[in-house]
C-alpha cells in the first residue's frame, strides 16, 4: 500500500530525510517514532505529495508521489498536528468545502460526514461554528475531513501532540476505529505510549534515518535482550539463586526475589518451578517484567549517540 525506497529530502544543504526505505501493508498501522526534527513530518509530507523527494521513490497505493502527485493527494487523507480548521465556518460548510475539493457531490459528502461524525460521537457539531469546538473536537473534525473521501492511506502527523490527556484519548480511540483491512495508516508521533497502543509496527526515525523497525515485541527482544522474569519467594533466597543460575542468567536479586533472563521462558519456567517445588521452596509469584517501548527508544537513541560520540557514522541498517 505504501512503499518508500531510499527516500531522501534535502533543504538548502540540510538533509531532513535520509534514504528511508520501508513499506506499510493494507490494514497495518505503522508508527514513525522520533523526537522533534527527526524527519517524521517531512516524510509524511512527501507521502502526501506536498513535498517532492530530492531522491529515492515513494509509492502510495501504487502511485509514484513525484510523478502523479494529484492522484496521490486524491488517495490519501492527511491529519496534521494542528487541525487547521476555518473557525468561522460551520462543520457542515467545512466538510462540504473539502468534499467538493475531493470530487464528492453534496449528498455524498453529507452522508459520509454524518456517518463519520456519528462514529466519533460528535454529530451535534454538524451545525455549529468550529470556533466553538473543544481541542479534541477540532482534531476529530480534522480527522473526519481527512477520512471524508474514504482514503486508502491515512497519514496522521502528531495527531495528539498538543492535547490534554482526555482529548488525546478521544482521538486515539477514533484512530483505532478507523483501522480497516483495506487501509494503511502511518502515525507520526513522539508519544511512545501512543505508538505502543496504536501501532502494529514501529519505525524509529532519527536524524532522518530509520534506526529501528519492527513490531513492539520484536524491537524489545532485539534491543533489550531476552524476556526478563521475576521470581518472588515466601522466604529468603538461600540456595534458590544457585538453582536459578543453573537454568538462566540472573540479572539482579534482593532478599526474597530475583530477576533472570531467558530466551525460552516457556521451557525454563516450568522446569524451574518443578525444581523449586522438589526442594520445598515456596514460590509466591513468577512473572514477566514489563519492558516498555520507552526502554527500546532510549536504548536506540543512546546507541546512536554513543556511535556519534565515538566518531562512528550512523548506519540505519545497523540496529534494525
Amino acid at each position: 500500500m505504501i512503499e518508500l525506497i531510499g527516500l531522501t529530502k534535502r533543504f538548502d544543504g540540510f538533509t531532513a530525510v535520509d534514504g528511508v526505505t520501508l513499506s506499510v501493508a493494507p490494514g497495518e498501522i505503522l508508527a514513525l517514532l522520533g523526537h522533534n526534527g527527526a524527519g517524521k513530518t517531512t516524510t509524511v509530507r512527501m507521502l502526501a505529495a506536498i513535498l517532492r523527494p530530492s531522491s529515492g521513490q515513494a509509492f502510495v497505493a501504487g502511485t509514484n508521489v513525484a510523478e502523479r502527485p494529484r492522484e496521490v493527494r486524491q488517495r490519501i487523507g492527511l491529519l496534521t498536528e494542528n487541525p487547521g480548521l476555518y473557525l468561522r465556518m460551520k462543520g457542515k460548510e467545512y466538510l462540504g468545502f473539502f468534499g467538493r475539493l475531493m470530487g464528492l457531490d453534496a449528498d455524498e459528502t453529507e452522508v459520509r460526514a454524518r456517518e463519520l461524525l456519528t462514529q466519533f460521537g460528535m454529530l451535534e457539531a454538524w451545525e455549529r461554528r468550529m470556533g466553538t469546538y473543544s481541542k479534541g473536537m477540532r482534531q476529530k473534525m480534522a480527522l473526519v475531513r481527512a477520512m471524508l473521501h474514504d482514503p486508502s492511506v491515512l497519514l496522521l502527523d502528531e495527531p495528539t501532540s498538543a492535547m490534554d490527556p482526555r482529548s488525546a484519548r478521544l482521538v486515539r480511540d477514533a484512530v483505532l476505529r478507523l483501522r480497516d483491512h483495506r487501509r494503511a495508516i502511518v502515525l507520526c508521533t513522539h508519544n511512545l505510549a501512543e505508538a505502543e497502543v496504536l501501532a502494529d509496527r514501529i519505525a524509529i526515525i532519527r536524524r532522518g534515518r530509520i534506526v529501528a523497525l519492527g513490531t513492539p515485541a520484536e524491537l524489545k527482544k532485539r534491543l533489550l535482550g531476552p524476556p526478563m522474569m521475576e521470581l518472588r519467594l515466601a522466604h529468603p533466597l538461600n540456595g534458590a539463586a544457585k538453582l536459578v543460575s543453573e537454568l538462566a542468567r540472573i540479572e539482579g536479586q534482593g532478599e526474597d526475589w530475583l530477576r533472570y533472563s531467558t530466551p525460552s521462558p516457556q521451557e525454563i519456567n516450568p522446569r524451574l518451578l518443578q525444581t523449586l517445588a522438589s526442594r520445598a521452596i515456596d514460590v509466591i509469584t513468577i512473572s514477566e517484567v514489563e519492558r516498555s517501548l520507552e526502554d527500546v527508544y532510549l536504548r536506540v537513541v543512546e546507541g546512536q549517540d554513543s556511535q556519534g560520540v565515538n566518531g562512528g557514522t550512523t548506519n540505519h541498517d545497523s540496529s534494525i
Partner: protein, 506 residues
C-alpha cells in the same frame, strides 16, 4: 466494502480525471467562494470597507459639491470641474488600498493559522490554488471600489445633477481595475513568498508607495484633463497585471510554501549556489597539459562549451532584445519624419578631425579616448543590469532601445537632408558597431534574463537559485565576451571610425 464506500472510491477515481476544464473550474470556484465568504464574515474587514464604500464617497461628493460652488464664486469653475473626476479616482483607490490586507495574508495568513497544509493535501493544482486565492483576494476590493464609485456618482447626481461622460467613467473604471489588480496580485505574490504576516505587511510598502505615487501622477494628469496619457497608463498597468499574475503562478510552489520556515539570509549558502553555477567544465585536453598551461583548457571549456550553452539558455531574451532594437529603429525613423531637423543643424560636409576632438565639450558625451568610451559603455550596461533587476528586465531593454532609436533618428534625418543614409550608418556606426552592438545585445539579453527570472524561474529551480544562475551566466558572459568586444570596439571608435567618417563624407 459498503455501497457508499464503493461509491466514494468511484468518485475519487472520476475526480482523478480532473484534467477536464469543467471540473477544474468547479474546484476553482469552490475555493474562491469559500475565501470570499470567510472574508465577508470578518467584521473587522467588512466594517471599514462599508465605511469606505458608503460614507467616504458620500462625503467626497459633498466636498466636490462645496468646492464647485466655492470656486465658481471666484470665476474659476475649471478647478472644480477637474476636482470631480479626481475624487472619482480617489474613491475607487481607497477601498483597494485598505483591502490589501486580505491579499497580503492570503497564503502566509493561512500558513500561520495552520489551515494551509490541509488545503495543500487536496488534489488542487498549484495554478488552481494560486488563481483561486488571487481571485478571492481580488474580488472584494474591486467590488468595494466599484461600489464606492457608484455611491460617489449618486451623491454628485443628487447634489449637482452631474453625470460623468461615458469615456471618463470607462477610464476611471479601467484605471481602478488595473491598479487594483496590480496591487492585489503584487500582494498575493508577497504573501506566497514570505513566512509571516508581519514580513508581508512590511513588504506591502513596496506596493502601496508606488501605487500612491502613481495616483498622484494620475491626479496631476487628471487636472490637466489629458485623458489620452491616462489611457496609456492604464495600458501600462494592464501589462504589469499580466506580468504579476504570470509571475505569481510561475513562482508559486506548494513545497516552497511549507518548506520555508524562516526568512533567513544565508550568505554562505547563496555563495555556494552561485559558485556552483559559475563553475564550468574545462576542456579535457587541458588536463594533459603541463600545470602552467592548464588555464588553456579552462578557457577552451569556457568558449567552446559554456558560453554557447549560456547563449542557448538566453535565446528567448536575445530574440526579445533584437525585436526591441528593430522596434526602436522604427521609432527613430517615425520621429525623424515627424520632427524634421533644420538643414543647418546637420552639416556633414563640415565634419573634420576637430569635430571628434571637440566632442567631450558636449557635456553628456564621454571623452573620445579608448578608456573613456570603454568605461562609458561598461557603465551603461552595468546600469542596465541594475535596472533590469528592479524592472523584470524591461528597463535594460529600454536603455538599449533609446540610443538605437537616436541613431536611426539621425540616419533618417541624414536621408531627409539629402545624404546617403547607408553611407552615414556605415561610416558613423558600423566600424565599431560591428563589435559594440553584438556585445550590447548579448549583455542586455543576459540582464533581461536576470530580471525576468523573478517572473519565470527555470524549471525545477527556486526563484533564488534561478536568479543566481542567471547572475553567474551574466558575469561569465560579461568577462568572456562583452568587455573584450567593447574594448576592441572602443579602440576602433577612437582610432578608426573618425578616419572612416572623414574619408567617406568629405
Amino acid at each position: 466494502m459498503t455501497a457508499l464506500s464503493e461509491h466514494l472510491h468511484r468518485a475519487a477515481g472520476s475526480a482523478l480525471a480532473r484534467g477536464q476544464p469543467g471540473q477544474s473550474l468547479r474546484m476553482l470556484i469552490t475555493l474562491v467562494e469559500r475565501d470570499i465568504r470567510d472574508t465577508l464574515r470578518d467584521w473587522r474587514i467588512v466594517v471599514p470597507i462599508v465605511i469606505l464604500t458608503s460614507f467616504f464617497p458620500a462625503l467626497m461628493s459633498f466636498v466636490a459639491h462645496l468646492a464647485l460652488n466655492w470656486v465658481v464664486k471666484y470665476g474659476d469653475p475649471i478647478i472644480g470641474e477637474r476636482l470631480i473626476p479626481f475624487l472619482l479616482m480617489v474613491v475607487g483607490f481607497f477601498p483597494i488600498s485598505f483591502s490589501l490586507v486580505i491579499a497580503l495574508e492570503t497564503f502566509v495568513g493561512e500558513k500561520e493559522r495552520n489551515s494551509l497544509e490541509p488545503l495543500l493535501a487536496t488534489p488542487l493544482t498549484d495554478t488552481q490554488l494560486y488563481l483561486g486565492k488571487t481571485l478571492a483576494a481580488m474580488i472584494p476590493p474591486l467590488l468595494a471600489a466599484y461600489l464606492g464609485i457608484t455611491v460617489y456618482l449618486i451623491g454628485l447626481y443628487l447634489f449637482k445633477g452631474w453625470t460623468p461622460p461615458a469615456v471618463l467613467l470607462a477610464l476611471i473604471i479601467v484605471l481602478t481595475t488595473t491598479e487594483g489588480v496590480v496591487m492585489v496580485s503584487g500582494a498575493v505574490v508577497v504573501s506566497s513568498q514570505t513566512t509571516s504576516v508581519r514580513a508581508a505587511n512590511l513588504l506591502a510598502s513596496f506596493i502601496i508607495i508606488p501605487a500612491a505615487l502613481l495616483i498622484q501622477v494620475e491626479a496631476m494628469i487628471m487636472f490637466y484633463a489629458n485623458y489620452s496619457v491616462l489611457w496609456w497608463i492604464a495600458l501600462f498597468l494592464l501589462v504589469v497585471d499580466v506580468i504579476l499574475v504570470r509571475m505569481g503562478i510561475h513562482i508559486f510552489n506548494r513545497e516552497e510554501l511549507l518548506g520555508r520556515e524562516i526568512d533567513q539570509l544565508n550568505v554562505l549558502s547563496l555563495w555556494r549556489t552561485f559558485r556552483g553555477h559559475f563553475r564550468w567544465e574545462p576542456w579535457s585536453f587541458g588536463r594533459q597539459l603541463p600545470g602552467g598551461l592548464r588555464w588553456m583548457g579552462t578557457l577552451g571549456g569556457l568558449y567552446t562549451r559554456e558560453i554557447p550553452a549560456i547563449l542557448r539558455r538566453s535565446r528567448m531574451a536575445l530574440v526579445l532584445v533584437v525585436v526591441g532594437l528593430l522596434i526602436s529603429a522604427y521609432i527613430g525613423y517615425v520621429f525623424a519624419t515627424r520632427y524634421q531637423m533644420p538643414p543647418d543643424s546637420l552639416r556633414l560636409d563640415q565634419v573634420s578631425s576637430n569635430t571628434f576632438s571637440e566632442l567631450p565639450t558636449v557635456g553628456w558625451l564621454p571623452a573620445l579616448t579608448v578608456r573613456g568610451v570603454l568605461s562609458n559603455n561598461v557603465r551603461a550596461l552595468l546600469l542596465a543590469t541594475l535596472l533590469a533587476v528592479f524592472s523584470f528586465g524591461t528597463l535594460a531593454e529600454v536603455l538599449l532601445m533609446a540610443p538605437m532609436a537616436i541613431i536611426f533618428f539621425f540616419v533618417a534625418q541624414a536621408a531627409q537632408l539629402g545624404y546617403n543614409p547607408a553611407l552615414f550608418f556605415a561610416a558613423f556606426v558600423l566600424p565599431h558597431g560591428l563589435l559594440e552592438l553584438p556585445a550590447a545585445i548579448i549583455a542586455t539579453a543576459l540582464a533581461v534574463r536576470l530580471g525576468a527570472t523573478f517572473m519565470s524561474p527555470p524549471r525545477g529551480m527556486t526563484v533564488g537559485e534561478g536568479w543566481l544562475r542567471a547572475l553567474a551566466d551574466l558575469v561569465k558572459v560579461f568577462a568572456a565576451i562583452v568587455v573584450p568586444l567593447l574594448a576592441l570596439a572602443a579602440v576602433i571608435e577612437v582610432h578608426v571610425t573618425p578616419a572612416i567618417v572623414i574619408w567617406a563624407l568629405l
